[in-house]
């Protein structure tokens, strides 16, 4: 993965990427970078092209056009020794013993047999599955299989960890384990790309994000940058009575007695508060907060739903 181009390019570099399936264009024109050592959130609604982008990045799909580089060059399976990939559609050889499957994947990722075996046994001990080492995978519960899947993903201490909806189908215990593992990998210097719908996880873990919609980027940058692109600040207002309409703000959320208002350009906190007070509405509380990624997500993809419904 480390090539000559690595000095000039970020670890992951995607430029002018387009992907067609027959007459259907999934990705129109996508460009973004992922820097070494950062945790990157890849966000978008179902069908927005996230998994397709990852598959094209990993050489599983051939892109229609564009450049998709990891470490300065197109990914090849021989680079798999430095990659950890947890796909959205995941599974392992169910009729084989746990340890055999782990050792097999370890070997495919370049570990020696003894090394893969030792690592696997340590990991099974850690996740309390040591007694299942010789059991066939289909004898394990769904949650236990998820733990094995996670182990297989990280057993080569990957430089780049790509997780496609990692918490999908995970129970809370395994979700916690996954988060611990991501933290560990980050601390060890790994770059993490995460596709997820869990916005609180993105806010907690990710340094930068991209929002994908209709095959193009709708927002891209640090979490703060993206929040700024979508207004940055919201006013959380407790009130009695009727919330007035105003040219100074948009009502992001209104549940009757509580509302979140996004100020329009040029409108500051004092002007909005003055507008509310002079309208005769009884204000019970007024605080300032950053717009959450979830609100941004709903705002971006809500438009899509409204368009579809219309």
């Amino acid at each position: 993965m480390t090539a000559g181009g690595a000095a000039r390019e970020p670890l992951v570099h995607i430029e002018d990427f387009r992907m067609d399936f027959g007459d259907h264009t999934v990705i129109k024109d996508l460009s973004f970078d992922v820097r070494a050592g950062e945790t990157f959130g890849f966000l978008g609604s179902n069908g927005s092209g996230k998994t397709t982008t990852l598959r094209a990045l990993l050489g599983i799909y051939q892109p229609t056009a564009g450049t998709l580089h990891i470490g300065g060059k197109s990914f090849e399976p021989t680079d798999g020794a430095r990659l950890g990939y947890l796909p959205e559609e995941r599974g392992l050889y169910k009729k084989e013993p746990v340890l055999d499957v782990m050792v097999y994947f370890g070997r495919l990722k370049g570990l020696g047999k003894a090394q893969a075996r030792a690592w696997s046994l340590d990991y099974l001990e850690r996740v309390q599955l040591a007694d299942k080492a010789t059991s066939n995978l289909d004898k394990l519960s769904g949650g236990q299989q998820q733990k094995i899947q996670l182990g297989v993903t990280i057993m080569n201490d990957p430089e780049l960890l790509i997780l496609d909806e990692p918490t999908k189908g995970f129970d809370p215990v395994n979700r916690r384990l996954l988060m611990d593992i991501i933290e560990e990998q980050k601390l060890a210097g790994a770059t993490v790309i995460m596709v997820t719908h869990q916005m609180e996880e993105v806010e907690r873990l990710c340094d930068r994000v991209i929002l994908l919609k209709d095959g193009t980027s709708r927002a891209y940058g640090t979490v703060t940058d993206v929040q700024e692109q979508f207004g940055g600040t919201v006013y959380r207002v407790g009130y009695d009575g009727v919330l007035p309409r105003s040219a100074l703000y948009d009502v992001v959320r209104n549940t009757g007695g509580y509302a979140e208002l996004a100020p329009r350009p040029g409108a500051d906190q004092a002007a909005v508060l003055r507008e509310l007070v002079t309208s005769g509405t009884a204000i019970t509380s007024f605080t300032t907060a950053r717009v959450s990624l979830e609100e941004i997500f709903i705002r971006v993809y809500g438009e899509q739903h409204q368009t579809v419904e219309a």
Binding site: E76, P77, E89, K109
Partner: protein, 422 residues
């Protein structure tokens, strides 16, 4: 857990070995593999044991029967049966055919033979007390033997008698290109490749089909494809299948070889004279290449089917006709051997799916010329490699289409675009 891999070998070949090892051992480590594999030699051993025991007892009873005289009567419309010979065999002339039949029915005599006036034109009627299906054959044998003795006595020459009865040995020597060809003995070694091909396809094709289906059914493809080139994966599977097949064939052959070498007489095995077997390098080389090319082609085709079909049930629909195409030349075997230039044999020889069996048969019996051999071998390898590439392409796209059958049209269109873009 925190230690990075100390050394990473060049992954491509390393991974081919890893796939071969994993696929081979996971098949051969399963008890059901050994149950299935050992079942055939076990059944063979049981049959041999039964033959062994049976031969011991029949040998004793045959000795007893040899000494027991057959009491029979006969009438001779032809007048050629020597009375002395008949008496020596335990026979006596009967005066009344109806009485003779009645004597058989009542058990006073074992049998009655009615020789017609012209034994060449009419049949000899044999009436006997029922001794069971096999022992009843004794009556016919004795009746014929008496006619043989009569003929010998009339001809007066053992050589002419042997010639008349067809009891002569013929040693044939044939020549090809000015040199002596091996005859039937030379056909045996190259035909062994056909047997190997047949056994391997029968035993392993289902495994190959399921092997590529398994990646899809278990949703393991994406993880595999980020560590492994699909060509390496499929080649690894083919090589491991070949090894599994060799293990199975060795296990099947073991009791036969042991039985032949150590217990041939007691098992009444045919006395194969290996000195008649001729090992001609040309047909052997052609046979080996046809076997390899044919195996490559069929495993690639099966890999493609596995990549396209969503599950084993749907794959089975295509699998059946494919197997029929492989072995359809056996239905025309007499034509293949007698008239290799006929259009149907030529079609079987060059149609890729029927080519291996047809060409191996013709190679064994010496009717596949050098030019034809080269063409068929080249065809099998070229089509096999193309099919393997196609199979890899289908695997790349088909095996991540988890729920439905892959559209070949779309996949081919994508393949052409990729090739144009590459």
């Amino acid at each position: 857990m925190g230690t990075a891999p100390a050394q990473r070998s060049p992954l491509r070949w390393h991974n081919l070995g890893t796939v071969v090892g994993f696929e081979f051992f996971r098949t051969t480590k399963k008890p059901r593999f050994w149950i299935a594999t050992l079942a055939i030699p076990l059944v063979t051993a049981i049959v041999f044991a039964l033959i062994f025991v049976s031969n011991s007892s029949t040998s004793a009873s045959a000795d007893a029967q040899k000494n027991a005289a057959l009491a029979f009567v006969y009438t001779d419309g032809s007048g050629i049966i020597p009375e002395a010979a008949a008496q020596a065999a335990g026979g006596a002339r009967a005066a009344d055919p109806a009485q003779a039949v009645a004597d058989v029915k009542s058990g006073r005599v074992d049998a009655y033979f009615a020789y017609p006036a012209d034994p060449a034109a009419e049949s000899v009627k044999v009436y006997g007390a029922d001794r069971g299906v096999f022992a009843n054959g004794t009556y016919e044998a004795v009746a014929k033997q008496l006619l043989m003795v009569a003929a010998q006595a009339d001809i007066g020459s053992p050589q002419l008698t042997a010639a008349a009865s067809g009891n002569v040995r013929v040693d044939t020597e044939t020549y090809r290109g000015g040199a002596a060809s091996g005859g039937f003995g030379a056909a045996v070694p190259p035909l062994m490749f056909l047997v190997l091909f047949y056994v391997m396809v029968i035993l392993l094709s289902n495994q190959m089909l399921n092997s590529t289906l398994e990646e899809k059914e278990n949703r393991v493809t994406e993880m595999i494809l980020t560590t492994l080139n699909p060509t390496t994966l499929i080649m690894g599977k083919i090589i491991s299948l070949l090894l599994v097949g060799l293990v199975q064939i060795s296990v099947f052959l073991a009791p036969i070889i042991i039985g032949f070498v150590f217990f041939r007489d007691r098992l009444s095995l045919p006395d194969v004279d290996l000195s008649d077997v001729v090992f001609e390098p040309g047909p052997l080389l052609v046979g080996a290449l046809l076997l390899l090319g044919g195996f490559l082609l069929f495993t690639a085709v099966l890999g493609a089917i596995g990549a396209v079909m969503p599950n084993a049930k749907e794959a089975g629909v295509v699998f059946g006709p494919l197997m029929a195409l492989i072995f359809v030349p056996f239905y025309a075997i007499s034509l293949i051997l007698s008239d290799p230039t006929s259009p149907i044999v030529q079609a079987f020889t060059y149609f890729p799916l029927s080519a291996p069996v047809t060409a191996m048969l013709r190679n064994g019996f010496g009717t596949l010329g050098p030019v034809e051999s080269v063409i068929v071998i080249a065809e099998l390898f070229i089509v096999g490699i193309l099919m393997l590439r196609f199979s890899v392409h289908l695997f790349r796209y088909g095996s991540i289409q988890y729920t439905g059958k892959l559209s070949l049209t779309k996949t081919l269109r994508r393949g052409r675009r990729e090739m144009a873009g590459s």
